[in-house]
Amino acid sequence: MDSAPSDDTGGIPLTIFKILVAGGFGAGKTTLVGAISEVRPLRTEEALTSASVGHDDLRGVAAKNTTTVAMDFGRITMSNHLVLYLFGTPGQERFWFMWDELSYGALGAVVLADTRRLDDCFPSVDYFERRRVPFLVAINCFDGAPRYDPEDVRIALDLDPRVPVVLCDARSMTSAKEVLITLVEHVLSGRAAAGQPAAGAITSAGG
């Protein structure tokens, strides 16, 4: 058992930041989280609500009233009052009810892209743009996959010029660390540019 967040914070309020790692199936979400923290599985078995009914096709499964979502998360303890949680978010649109909770108060998000299946990024990019969650696109450089210029990927995904697009190797701790550093720098620069904080700008209910 690894150590848990401490309550001995010397009077400083405990801060737990969430960073989401999104992307299509097989884009390397679990690999990236695992490169920089100990990955642990998290399962939800949510009762279907109106939020999820629209995404789940219930025809022919009248008795089904829960849906299972499996994801991974990791924890990076930075100090006794600062802890970072990384959540690999389930890629499919049908899990958006889970995304609302995950993105509530999130510091930012990494959208992992596989250039062989770039279309898989669209739902995540759309989601974070609409929710105004600061994000970047990290192109996971799979062996044997064609290499693209990050600027080409930016154009293909129709990204705002301010959204960072970086190349990464999700297996490498150094690379995963660089991705997260770029994301936090992006959050900071977005805040400076807007004259107001860019992170945690979600006001809808979630968690």
């Binding site: 150590s3 309550d7 405990l14 930041f17 078995e45 009762a47 959540f87 550093i181 968690g207």
Partner: protein, 128 residues
């Protein structure tokens, strides 16, 4: 696991549906849904209170209590229990209502983090 006519074996996980562990309850008794990264910790029970337990504790409740001897997030507890998040939230709410657990104060999720705090995250990442 693909739905179909296959027999389930031990690797398929518990045959009991997850919410059977909560007596079929899918909502926390308090009506308040704990945040995924809310931090809970066990409260030392007063000696005398043990006799008059308003809600009998299930083995799952007891396991949560043991996991929460050190502060842990809801996500940590769910992962360690290998139970779905929704189930763990119901069980945690039982323990919070009977004051066996408490939620540690932390920076509210919807509060804007200060620039200083973000810089601290940057330093922390660089130091990894």
């Amino acid at each position: 696991m693909e739905p179909g006519g296959t027999w389930l074996d031990r690797d398929s996980g518990p045959v009991v549906r997850p919410y059977a562990l909560t007596g079929g309850r899918t909502e926390p008794a308090s009506g308040e849904v704990l945040d995924l990264v809310a931090v809970v910790v066990a409260v030392e029970p007063p000696e005398a209170a043990e006799d008059s337990e308003p809600v009998p504790l299930t083995p799952e409740h007891r396991r949560i209590m043991s996991l929460c001897r050190n502060p842990a997030t809801v996500a940590d507890v769910a992962s360690d229990m290998a139970l779905p998040l929704g189930v763990v939230r119901v069980l945690l709410a039982d323990l919070l209502l009977t004051e066996r657990l408490s939620v540690l104060p932390r920076r509210p999720a919807d509060e804007q983090p200060s620039t200083a705090l973000l810089k601290e995250v940057l330093h922390g990442l660089r130091a990894l």
